[in-house]
Symmetry: C2
Subunit: 272 residues, 2 copies
């Protein structure tokens, strides 16, 4: 009898329990970016620590991750604290320390499933069909690119110079893990950061830039994620304003049935 190899995402999320809501781990080289781990992986690991906590009731509703400093390949320690436990929401604080300094932290809200009145005023993006778009060539790019299949319908990170600069800085793409993997909340937390800094697109060239803070609202229930499974999701990322060395960007992650699974917002630091 042989067992299938674990998915690289699950390998990267492996944490060792160190008692009392504490965990240790090491960032996976398989999700490496230019000068540290892909920010989406950091978000996923901070969320994973909450999902492993014995006091968790329900599922993730929101997460804010602050990227406080560069994260290296050294071992890290995670501390999860349930700051307030309520009937409809639980409020968590997670701290990632490396060499005794805080390198990242997160606040996470979780809560039990409820069914209520619903409405979806946002319009799903009308992307061209997944199979009609070419998969982005990740050869020669940072490792984490290879862990996603991206089919861009505008706003690909081709960075062909000022002449190819995008006016609105918007990206529209089909996205999935590579190889395919059934969607869960850590995967959504990671996909929320899969859109490169909008300033790169708008100027047509890369440069020093990093996410400072990332907030994701998980709108989909567990059964909605199960229904989406491993099929590609539709993502749209849009900036509003770029100035004083920072810019915002918002991302929507849509199921292929037009169901909004998550929305995510971030503030990006950049240098001219």
């Amino acid at each position: 009898m042989s067992c299938p190899a674990p998915h690289p995402f699950d390998e990267a999320l492996a944490l060792q329990r160190a008692g009392d809501g504490r965990f240790t781990g090491v960032m996976s080289q398989g999700y490496w970016n230019m000068a540290g781990p892909f920010g989406g992986m950091t978000a996923a690991i901070l969320l994973k620590a909450v999902t492993l906590h014995p006091d968790l009731k329900g599922r993730p509703l929101s997460q804010t991750v602050n990227f406080c400093a560069a994260i290296s390949a050294d071992p890290f320690e995670l501390e999860t604290v349930l700051e307030r436990d309520g009937r409809s929401t639980q409020h968590w604080r997670v701290t990632l320390r490396q060499n005794d300094s805080v390198a990242a932290n997160a606040t996470v809200v979780t809560g039990p499933h409820r069914d209520t009145w619903s409405s979806q005023p946002a319009a799903a993006p009308a992307l061209r069909p997944h199979e009609s778009l070419e998969a982005f060539d990740t050869a020669g790019r940072s490792g984490w690119f290879g862990r996603y299949e991206m089919r861009f319908d505008g706003g690909a990170p081709t960075l062909s110079g000022p002449a190819g600069a995008s006016g609105d800085g918007q990206t529209r793409a089909w996205l999935r893990d590579e190889p395919p993997r059934p969607l869960d909340y850590p995967a959504l937390a990671s996909l929320a950061d899969a859109f490169i800094p909008r300033v790169f697109l708008m100027r047509g060239v890369p440069g020093p830039a990093a996410t400072v803070t990332l907030t994701t609202y998980f709108l989909a229930s567990e059964s909605e994620l199960a229904a989406q499974g491993a099929r590609p999701i539709a993502g749209v990322a849009t900036p509003r304003a770029i100035k004083h060395g920072f810019h915002d960007q918002s991302a929507e992650l849509w199921g292929d049935d037009g169901n909004l699974l998550a929305v995510s917002h971030q503030l990006v630091w950049f240098k001219d």
Copy 2:
């Protein structure tokens, strides 16, 4: 010689130093909502604590506030911790405790001013002129409403029943402190929460609802805030999806010269 009376917003933000990044205070009855302080005031107080810290370098760039539990009229304690101090960003954690329990917390990013390449792909809302719109009648409403002048150009919180329900849940309005007060970061942090839960508008009736978590990005520099002064700003609030007892909403706060001052996002809990 007589001195002008302090503005109610400044009175409400009064904190007593309790040493070592600690402060004490009491929530102002002047900004009371249905069952506790207006969430924007809580956000402003958590931000104010950071601006009072002697180690602050620069100005607020982002803030995430988590509303962990109901806040009462009892005294509260604030603790501010500089979790990581960097060259371009400082990462702060603020905790608001009441009767020894965490009632709210925040993470705040601050940083020194820089001038860089800039671009504003977002379009300013084309509101009808401020003076052509009637000021919203706040008589008989929760106290905090009276602390703002709101002139709605769609999406007023009139809540006239299902027949008056709004399909897209969007609000567009001119907003300013009442009486007028020069704009600063705590004021922006508060104004970011001045839009009622979108579910009220979309159903045409109020009900149990509360902001769970609120994230604001402060895009404007101090000189841009000074240039805006005490004149009304243009606000737009929009939801994307409402389901499973929660909904998102995003707000943009624009200067009257079409400059995007701040963007804010929140997740709202509601009950049917």
